[in-house]
Every structure is written in structure tokens, then in C-alpha cells.
């Protein structure tokens, strides 16, 4: 396997250990996928794109962000292709490549979440919701639930910061996702 002949499938096989090349397009993954009804591309379509080495399409397709990682597809795949891992890998590559099509709100959520982890060591949900809404822009959604959340003591205003916060920064940098 020399560098020039690296295909999307072989890259994913190497990084995530998921063998898209073994997919025979039976569609069992899509038949059980809870999000299939709401996405344009289904797991088996994504597998197809990977098999055909259609990198740009695979990485820029919003569907990869609709995956719940519920693993139903991987659990039932007759060939052990592990579509969930493949989609994980696609998301990772898509972020790394800075693909613009990534749905704003989803990217925003993950960014917000990890930012919390990096700076506090834990996720402070109130802060998370706030930050997420700022990044995604839909300020009113779920605002209705915030009040009852307080009343039930489910949201605290004070963020907890762990002692070993420098460890967190170290981990993020070591994983090349610092800042």
C-alpha cells in the first residue's frame, strides 16, 4: 500500500479500523437507522461514497452530522463494516478539513461543549446552553425549559472548575485540538 494509492476507504480502515470496502450495499444499516427518515443520505449511501473514494461529497454531506452514534448499523451489519465508526471518521476528517457545509448548530454544539471541557474540566450545562445559543444563533429554542430547570435545581449558575485544569489543556494539545 504505497502513499499515492491511499483511498478514503483505506485511510478510514487505518485510522478507525472500519472496513468500508467489505460493504455489499444490502441496506440493513439504513433499514434500522433511526435518523434515516430525516436525512438525505443514509448509512449505506455514505458507505458507497467511501467505497467509491468520493471524498469531497462524503466529507461535505450534512448527513454525517445527523448520526446519533447509536451503533444500530454497526451492530447489525452482516459484514462487520462498522458504519458508525466510518461516519465518526468522516466527521473527524470533515472538521480537520474545515469543510464549511457542516451544519452550523451541530458544529456549534460540539465546539461549545469541548470549549467547556477544556476551560473548566467539566461541562457546566447552563454555560453550555448559553454558549451554544450564541454560536448557533437560535436564542429562543428551549428557553421555555430553562426556568423550570432552575426550579427543579437542574441548572446551577455557578460553573465548577476542576483543580487539574492544566492537565485538560495538556490533553487537548496532545490530541492536536488545543485552543
Amino acid at each position: 500500500m504505497n502513499g499515492t494509492s491511499r483511498t478514503l476507504a483505506s485511510e478510514i480502515a487505518a485510522s478507525a479500523g472500519a472496513n468500508a470496502a467489505a460493504c455489499y450495499q444490502c441496506g440493513k444499516c439504513s433499514a434500522g437507522c433511526p435518523m434515516a427518515a430525516d436525512s438525505d443520505l443514509r448509512p449505506h449511501n455514505l458507505m458507497r461514497l467511501v467505497m467509491q473514494n468520493r471524498r469531497a461529497e462524503a466529507l461535505s454531506d450534512p448527513t454525517i452530522w445527523y448520526c446519533l452514534t447509536c451503533e444500530t448499523c454497526s451492530e447489525r451489519c452482516p459484514n462487520g463494516c462498522d458504519p458508525a465508526r466510518v461516519i465518526d471518521a468522516l466527521r473527524e476528517m470533515s472538521l480537520a478539513a474545515g469543510i464549511s457545509q457542516t451544519p452550523k448548530n451541530i458544529k456549534a454544539f460540539h465546539r461549545a461543549f469541548l470549549e467547556q471541557v477544556r476551560t473548566n474540566g467539566r461541562v457546566h450545562e447552563m454555560g453550555l446552553v448559553m454558549e451554544y445559543k450564541l454560536r448557533s444563533g437560535d436564542l429562543m429554542k428551549d428557553a421555555t425549559n430553562a426556568a423550570p430547570m432552575f426550579s427543579r435545581g437542574k441548572l446551577s449558575l455557578r460553573a465548577h472548575r476542576i483543580k487539574g485544569i492544566d492537565e485538560m489543556k495538556r490533553i487537548f494539545e496532545a490530541c492536536g485540538t488545543g485552543s
Binding site: D38, L68, T69, C70, F109, L114, R122, V123, C175
Partner: protein, 337 residues
């Protein structure tokens, strides 16, 4: 590095609450802390634990998704524990997968101490609340009987909902049949309640997109709640904060008008009820779908059952007495002359 690594083995189980159990799902934390001593489970919260990264971690960067949980495994290890319980299904899933992947990849294992900046042997076993409580099933039965109070859960129909994170991938399913798991059902039975046989046990509720794809999430949740109702369940038992907040918070949107919403309770709260602990201590008042009506119904039935049994006893006693009297009253045969 190994020099400074001197953890003396420690009794009990390390406890990794994770962010939600300190926030939106604190009742899960409260109820676990409430039942643990009763069942003789010695759990100790890991000092200075940090977030496992949840789905955002591994969706964004595979290595990060492994490293964030690993830090907490390392902490538990350093405290000298060989087991850590992660009640939150999402945390459990991430911790277990991280543990699994590092064990499977020597190269990764080698890099870990450097990435974490602390020694790490990956020696800690990860368990979830279901496993913990299923193993404690006998203790649950015993302590429930020991309360002396009538068990409100006897005969109540409950739907055990596992969702995705606790049973998939098979590698971390911890002996569960991914298509047909049984741990929560076992705990339900141990509590004296009845586990209904339904179809949505392992279908995903969509929680990980709870904020971003609300429409899909409501669609998925509706399917689950209505199937549970269709099979006669009076409540849904969960072991996952995401499932819980999703099914609890959004159930209004998931149920038709006029329909009574189904309470969604944590497996630990269920056990707490069996053990006769007060609802407040179990955080049952924190839910969006009120649990009070159900609890009221249950205690009514319990009282009714008790009264019924008392009546039966009384009747039996009366019968016995009557028989005794008859014998006494019977005319004695005359002595032969």
C-alpha cells in the same frame, strides 16, 4: 514515573458521576447515594474527575474521545480502585470504549501516560448502574422484605428502556444481549415489579441531537413512549441521563393531548422506592413528568392489598374459631352404664 506510582489497593468501588449527574440529572446521583449504603455498596466519588467528552469528544477527534475518559480511569487507578461505576450511560459508554480501545492497542497504551501527564496502567474495570444493581439483586430483595412496610412496587407494570449507549457496541455491552438485554428487567423484578415485554427497548431516543435536531428527537421519543404505553407500562425505567432528560423534558411534545404522560424514573430511584426510601430523598420531585400521581396510585394499591390480606387473615381466624366452638358444643356420648 513508575516510582511515584504507588497506589495501595482500596476496598469498594470508585464512583464517576459525570457532568449530568451533577446537573440536569442530579436525582440519578442522589438516588444512587441514597440506596448504596442500604445495599452495602461502598462507592467513593473520584477526586477532581473531569468530563468524558461525551459524543462531542469522539465525534470531533478520535484520540481526544479516548484520552478524556482515560484521565478519569487513571485517577481511579491512582486512588487504588480496580472498579469504577459510571451510572451515566454516555459516560459509561465512553469510559468502557476508551478502556477497551487502549487495552486492544499497545501503541496507544504506551502513549497514554504522556498524553495524560500521569501514570496509567489501564487496570480499572468499568461498570454501569444496571450491572451493579443486577449483581445486588439478592440484596435488593432481602432489604425490601426487611423494611417491614408494604412494597409499593408489587405488580406495577414497568417498561425497561436501555437505549443505545448501554448495549452497543457489543464490545462494551458487558454480557448483555445487544438485541435483547435483560439487566434492567432483572432489577425491576428484584424490586417486586413486573417488567413488560415490549419492542423499543434498544431503539435510540435521539438524545445526542436533543438540542440540534429537536424534531427528529421528538419523533423517536414518541415511538418509544407510545409503545411502552401500548404494552401497559405505567412508567419507563431508564439508566441514562440523556434518555431521561429527553423522554422526561420533551414528553409533552411526545404525547397526544389528554393523554396522561408516562413518568420516566431512574433505575436507582426504582430500587429506592422498593427499599422504602422517601421520594424526596430519591429526587423524584425533580422530574418534568410528575411522579406524584403514580406514587399515590401505588401506595393506595399497597394499602388495599394490605387491608385485603388482613381481611383474609381475619376471616380465616374466624372460621377456625367457629370450627373449634362446634367441636366444643357437640353433645358428649353418654357413658355406658
Amino acid at each position: 514515573m513508575n516510582a511515584q506510582y504507588t497506589a495501595t489497593p482500596r476496598e469498594g468501588i470508585a464512583y464517576y458521576p459525570g457532568c449530568s449527574l451533577h446537573g440536569t440529572s442530579r436525582e440519578f446521583d442522589e438516588s444512587l447515594r441514597a440506596i448504596a449504603p442500604v445495599l452495602g455498596l461502598r462507592i467513593k466519588e473520584i477526586d477532581d474527575w473531569s468530563c468524558c467528552g461525551a459524543s462531542s469528544g469522539h465525534m470531533t477527534d478520535h484520540l481526544l474521545g479516548v484520552a478524556l475518559p482515560a484521565r478519569n480511569l487513571a485517577l481511579a487507578e491512582a486512588e487504588g480502585f480496580d472498579r469504577v461505576v459510571a451510572p451515566c450511560a454516555a459516560c459509561y459508554n465512553r469510559l468502557a470504549i476508551s478502556q477497551h480501545e487502549i487495552a486492544a492497542d499497545p501503541g496507544l497504551a504506551e502513549r497514554m501516560p504522556d498524553i495524560l501527564g500521569r501514570p496509567f496502567r489501564n487496570s480499572v474495570e468499568v461498570v454501569n448502574a444496571n450491572q451493579l444493581l443486577r449483581d445486588a439483586a439478592d440484596a435488593i430483595k432481602e432489604k425490601t422484605a426487611a423494611t417491614g412496610k408494604p412494597n409499593p412496587l408489587v405488580g406495577v407494570k414497568l417498561a425497561a428502556y436501555y437505549g443505545c449507549l448501554l448495549v452497543r457496541p457489543a464490545a462494551v455491552a458487558a454480557g448483555e444481549d445487544s438485541e435483547n438485554p435483560s439487566s434492567i428487567d432483572d432489577v425491576i423484578r428484584a424490586c417486586g415489579a413486573e417488567a413488560v415485554d415490549w419492542n423499543m427497548k434498544v431503539e435510540c431516543c435521539g438524545a445526542s441531537l436533543s438540542f440540534s435536531r429537536t424534531a427528529s428527537v421528538v419523533r423517536l421519543g414518541r415511538a418509544i413512549v407510545s409503545d411502552a404505553r401500548a404494552h401497559g407500562a405505567e412508567a419507563i425505567v431508564v439508566a441514562c441521563p440523556l434518555c431521561h432528560s429527553n423522554l422526561d423534558l420533551r414528553q409533552k411534545a411526545m404525547t397526544a393531548r389528554g393523554q396522561e404522560p408516562l413518568p420516566v424514573i431512574f433505575i436507582t430511584q426504582l430500587v429506592g422506592l422498593a427499599l422504602g426510601l422517601p421520594a424526596g430523598q430519591l429526587g423524584l420531585d425533580r422530574h418534568f413528568v410528575p411522579t406524584a400521581p403514580l406514587l399515590a396510585r401505588l401506595s393506595e394499591r399497597a394499602l388495599a392489598r394490605e387491608a385485603d390480606e388482613a381481611r383474609k387473615k381475619a376471616e380465616a381466624a374466624a372460621k377456625a374459631a367457629a370450627r373449634a366452638e362446634k367441636v366444643a358444643a357437640a353433645p358428649r356420648g353418654g357413658e355406658p352404664e
